[in-house]
Every structure is written in C-alpha cells, then in structure tokens.
C-alpha cells in the first residue's frame, strides 16, 4: 500500500517537474497541433517518462530491500537489528513479585550469533539472554533460569511494567512481546518496512547471483545452457509450426475444400491455450525435448495458419486482377502477388507466435524439465532461492523482449511497405 502511494506520488511529481521545468518546448510540428487530446498520432511515448519509470522501479526495489546500490537516506526503515531489552515482572507461590531484564540479540538471518552475556541480577527472577533473527520471532523461556519453576506458580504478569495476560501482548520500542495461551513469552522484533530477502532480495544480491550462476552454472548446466535450451526449443517449435502453418493457411485462403476441412479444426484449436495441452503432451511424448517441441509446434501452428489465411484474404482483388491481365499464371500470382502481399500479416502472426511460444516454453519447463529457464526458477523456488527466481524472471523478460525487437527489425527490413498502403 505504502509502496503504491509512493509510486503514484513519483508518477505525479515527475510529470509536473518534467512538464514545467525540464521540457519547456518541443519543436516538431505536433507541438503546433491544437487538438492533441483524442488525436492518437500526437501521442508519442515520452522518453523521459520511460527512463524515470524504470529508475523508479529500481529505486523502490532498492529502498524497500535496503540495497547498498541506493543511498541509505532513501532506504525504508529496516528491521530492528541489535540488542533489545525489556523487563518482566513475575509472581510465584510464597514469594513477592520480582523483576528481571531480558536482553535479546536480534541478528540478520544467515550470520553467526551468540547470546549476549548478562549478569544474573538480584532477586529470585534472573536476567535472561536470547537470540532472534530479524523478521522472525522467538519464544523466550524467562522462567528457565529463575529460582521458581512453573510448578511453583511461576507466571509473568507484566512486561516493562504493563500488565500482560495469556493471549495478550505489549508493544515495546524494539518489537512486540506476546504471551501464548500457556503463558510463555514470544518476542517479535520490529520488522520495519523493508522486505525480507527471502521474499524480495535486494538488486545487488540478484546481480551477484547472476554472476555466480553465469560463471559456475546451476544444477549441472551453465546459465547459457539453461537459456539456450529454452531458446532452442522455441526456435525449433516455431520453425516447424511456421513450416506447416503457413502453407496450411495459404491452402485455406485459396481452396474451398481446404477452408471447409480445416476451419473447424483451426477454429477449435485457436482458443485452446497451449498450456492446457501440456499434460496431454507429457502423457504422449514424455518430458523430453520431443514433447516440448511438439507443444511449441502446436502453439505456433494455429497462429501461423490463421495469419497466412488472413494474409491471403487481405490481397486487394485489383492486384490479382492486374496480375492476371498482365499475363501472369496462377503460380506466378502465388509467387509474386499473394505471398509478398501476405508477408505483413505473417510477420504480425510470427511476432504473436514467438511471444506465445516463449511463454509456453517457460511454463512447460516449470512443469517438468532437466534444463531451461523455467526449470531453473522452479527448482530455485523449492529451495526458497528467491534471488534466482527473480533473476530468472528478469532474464525471461529480457529475452522475450529481445525476440520481439529482432522480429520488428526483420519486419522493417523485409516488409518496409507495411502500414503504408
């Protein structure tokens, strides 16, 4: 909630700062348009906003994980770490109530720790020492070293002078002290606003882990092998999907019989998400490469068939007529008119298919695989290695984005007329 409010505040503040302070004037002709609201062509992504947006995400990530990469004054309050103290008041049969001090050393989980040394103190209730990890909580058996045991009516009645009863709690400056129904004390140090590394590790931990896995590998394979396997499956699956799908789409666009025969199949398969096929493909082909490639083949097949079909139906009839009256044969019309004319549609389809394949391969690897980006994050999550999970997600995103950019570049080079007719 807090995070969202901060995010919204940065959004609004940076908008006004950029609008009135930084970018006073843009000089292209859109700045002369008086009607910009509703004119889609006048809406261009503000690159300053994009940069701030990305920086904000990293800033928030760093601030709420206590990252060393961001200056410490933007850190959100961290969890309490250090020696916390509180006093308790105990009663027992036949003696007067007595006070004792508890010193709890709160430590970062994963570092070595020893309980602090304390004097036993006066009275029958002795001073205690214990340790609790940050973001955790711990039972503190204050009666353990006292001269009266529970059998002799030992019971804690107040913490820091505030009365406490089973089920209740007292808030101290170091954290919350609760009492269990049986009367044991439970110390929960202040968590602050930062996220525990096991939920969200700071950026530098993810980076460090990435370096580690890139050089040492993970689960018997290097990082590049994991990513390479995922990519390889996508490329092969997509390749065969396109190899079969495009001619199928053309046939559907050119022949009544093919259209009639395959329409029900294509229209039925189109809304079935490839993820729903994973169990069936595993049953049929196992969890090896074949199964994954069949799955991706199926994911790409229908998309490419539909794209090619749309490409054929999108041919302006006047182009076909012109070609016929210039003496072209059916084969020549296919080769010189229909195929090139359908390229823009096919590229659009290929971009969609690549995206779907990439998503599907990761999902399939989550279910079962020996290598691959999805398998990496699945295994890591079982061991609560959140940094690997986040690293995997970031890499998957970057690769997916990279694929799309490559496809767009190829599209620009191969169908420069797209959208210009």
């Amino acid at each position: 909630m807090i995070v969202f409010l901060i995010y919204a505040a940065i959004f609004v503040i940076s908008f006004f700062v950029v609008k009135y302070v930084v970018q006073k004037a843009t000089n292209d002709f859109t700045s002369l348009k008086t009607v910009t609201f509703g004119d889609e062509s006048a809406v261009k992504p503000n690159r300053v906003a994009s940069v701030i947006s990305v920086l904000t995400i990293f800033l928030l990530w760093g601030a709420f994980t206590g990252s060393k990469l961001v200056p410490s004054f933007v850190h959100a309050p961290g969890p309490f770490v250090g020696d916390a103290t509180f006093t308790y008041t105990a009663e027992a049969d036949g003696v007067e109530a007595d006070d004792a001090t508890v010193t709890v050393r709160v430590f970062q989980v994963g570092t070595d720790v020893e309980a602090p040394a304390v004097e036993p103190g006066e009275g029958w209730a002795k001073n205690d020492a214990d340790t609790v990890g940050a973001w955790r909580s711990g039972l503190i058996r204050v009666d353990k070293n006292d001269e009266k045991s529970r059998g002799e009516g030992h019971k804690v009645v107040a913490v820091n002078g505030e009365p406490i009863a089973p089920g209740g709690s007292v808030q101290t400056e170091f954290g919350r002290i609760g009492m269990s129904p049986k009367g044991s004390l439970n110390f929960e140090p202040n968590k602050g606003w930062q996220m525990e590394p096991i939920w969200l590790p700071p950026p530098e931990a993810v980076l460090k882990r990435m370096g580690e896995i890139a050089s040492e590998g993970y689960r018997d394979s290097t990082l590049w092998e994991h990513l390479g396997y995922s990519l390889f499956r996508v490329v092969i699956g997509f390749f065969f999907g396109a190899l079969v799908g495009i001619p199928l789409g053309y046939a559907m666009g050119l022949s009544n019989w093919f259209r009639g025969w395959f329409d029900p199949i294509v229209e039925f398969m189109r809304p079935v998400p490839p993820l729903a096929l994973i169990p069936l493909v595993i049953i049929w082909a196992g969890i090896g490469e074949t199964g994954k490639i069949i799955l991706l083949f199926l994911a790409a097949l229908w998309i490419m068939a539909i794209a090619a079909r749309a490409g054929v139906s999108g041919v302006a009839i006047s182009k076909v007529h012109a070609a016929y009256s210039l003496g072209a044969s059916k084969f020549q019309i296919m080769r010189h008119v229909i195929v090139p004319n359908s390229l823009p549609e096919i590229f659009t389809g290929a971009r969609v298919a690549m995206g779907v394949c990439w998503g599907t391969v990761v999902a399939a690897e989550l279910v079962a695989a020996e290598k691959g980006a999805g398998m990496m994050i699945m295994v890591a999550s079982k061991f609560q290695l959140t940094d690997i999970v986040i690293m995997g997600i970031i890499l998957i995103g970057i690769i997916g984005f990279g694929i799309d950019i490559l496809m767009r570049l190829a599209e620009k080079a191969l169908v420069p007329w797209k959208g210009r007719i």
């Binding site: 302006a316 182009k319 009256s325």
Partner: protein, 268 residues
C-alpha cells in the same frame, strides 16, 4: 477481323437473398482498333461490370465479347487494365512494377529493358526507377500503372476511373498524357469516368449509359480527343461545341439521377 465486339451482353447478379440485380441488359457495341472510347453514366449503371466482363474477370449471363475474332473467356495479356488505385505491387520498385508483364512472360531483361526505360521516360519517371511505389504521389503511381500496362503491349487498354483519385491539376496533366500515349501507341482504349469534361476530352466516342437495367443510352462521336493530341486541353475546352455537349450530357445524367431518386421514393 480486328477490334473488339460486344454482342447482346446481359449480366444479372443473383443475390443470396433471392433477389437479383440486372446490371446490364442487351449491350451491343463495336470498337475499332485504335479507337479511344469514354463511358459515362450515373453511379450503379453497370460501367464497372461492363469493363470487368470485357477484361474477362466476369462471365456474362448472356451474350459475349469477341476480340480479334475469338471469344473472351478469361483475363489475358492482350487486354490490359488500369485501376483507380491500389493495384501496384508495393514489394517491387517502380521499374519492376513496369516490367512485370514481360518478366512474367519469361522474357530476359535484354528484351524488355530498353522499352521499359523508354516508357518510364515518357511518363516522366526516369529518376524514380529505383523508388518504392509507396513513396510516390498518387499521380506518379497512376503513371506507373499506365506504364506497366503499356510495357505489356496489350491490344486493348481498359481503364476504370484511372484519374478519379487525383487532384484537378494532376488530373489535367494525366489527361494530356493519356491522349499522347494513345496517339503514340495506337492502342484501343476504353475509359470509364465520372467527369463529363474528362469523357468529352478523352473520348473519340462517348457512351452514356442508363441504369436499371444498365444499357447504352446515347452515343456521341466527338472531335476533341483528336484536337487535344496537339493542343492545350484548356484551349480545347473553349471550343463552342464543347460547352454545348457538356450541358447536354450533364442534363441527361441529371435527369437519370432524378428518375432514380423518384423511383426510390415511390418504392419507399
């Protein structure tokens, strides 16, 4: 015999809802070789249908088209077509568009290169050979379409509102170009237009069609196309007969449109 013969042509479109449209009824026409004929008529009177049948894209329900003595059954390189717009191949540059016909016929560049370059000169696109067609203006694109049609050396050129999408000035230049090409190449040309002036300027013969059913209403033989070959078209328009004919034909088409509206009101 040579030339184009249209015999008792009728075309009825049977619509899936059971009704039918009589787009053409009993159209007969002879067009001699080397003639340029313009066709006028209110919207929906069957001009495009007629041209599509002549081109061979549609088979008539009755009658037939005969070209150089044999019957037309489908599209063919002897009948070239120039469309209003959008019929160029965006994936080819200007020169490849123009040389499309000869290349499809399997000819080598040595055979067509010179002719194609000459045509590009004639239509004033010498410097745009390597350009992509979507980078050209509308008028330039229509010149490419004309050159592409001529490069294939058809006997008859069919044009369906070829200049309809151009601005007035470009249109006038293109009208001169069409006349020049007609005289230079001696092709038979059928040109559909919505502009009475254009029909008068470019038609050695002018056909006015009437709607419902589509039929020939009146035919004119005009001197303006021959005059326009050598003179400024603006001078030709000052010819006394020109204004007279224009008013006459405008009135004729106006009456037809009125009648269509009247009939529509009656049936409503």
């Amino acid at each position: 015999m040579s030339g184009l013969k249209i015999e008792n042509l009728s075309m009825r479109f049977d619509l899936p809802n059971g009704t039918s449209v009589q787009a053409l009824k009993d159209v007969s026409l002879n067009i001699a070789e080397g003639e340029i004929m313009s066709v006028l008529g209110p919207s929906g009177c069957g001009k495009t249908t007629l041209l599509n049948i002549v081109a061979g894209f549609l088979a008539p329900t009755e009658g037939g088209i005969f070209m150089n003595g044999h019957q037309v059954t489908g599209p063919n390189a002897e009948r070239g077509m120039v469309f209003q717009q959008g019929a160029l191949f965006e994936w080819m540059d200007v020169r490849s568009n123009v040389s499309f016909g000869p290349r499809m016929a399997g000819k080598r560049e040595a055979e067509w290169g010179e002719h194609v370059d000459h045509l590009l000169d004639v239509v004033g696109l010498r410097d745009f050979k390597e350009k992509a067609v979507y980078e050209l203006s509308g008028g330039m694109q229509q010149r490419v379409a004309l050159a592409r049609c001529l490069a294939n050396d058809p006997d008859v050129i069919l044009m369906d509102e070829p200049l309809g999408a151009l601005d007035a000035l470009t249109r006038e230049k293109m009208q001169s170009l069409v006349l020049k090409l007609w005289k230079e190449t001696g092709k038979t040309i059928i040109l559909i237009t919505h502009s009475v002036e254009e029909a008068l300027l470019l038609g050695e013969r002018l056909l006015v069609m009437a709607p419902r059913p589509g039929r020939i209403h009146k035919e004119y033989n005009l001197p303006f196309a021959d005059l326009g070959v050598n003179a400024d078209l603006r001078e030709v328009k000052k010819h006394p007969e020109f204004a007279e004919r224009r008013e006459e034909i405008l009135g004729m088409i106006w009456d037809m449109e009125e009648e269509i509206m009247g009939r529509a009101e009656e049936s409503a």
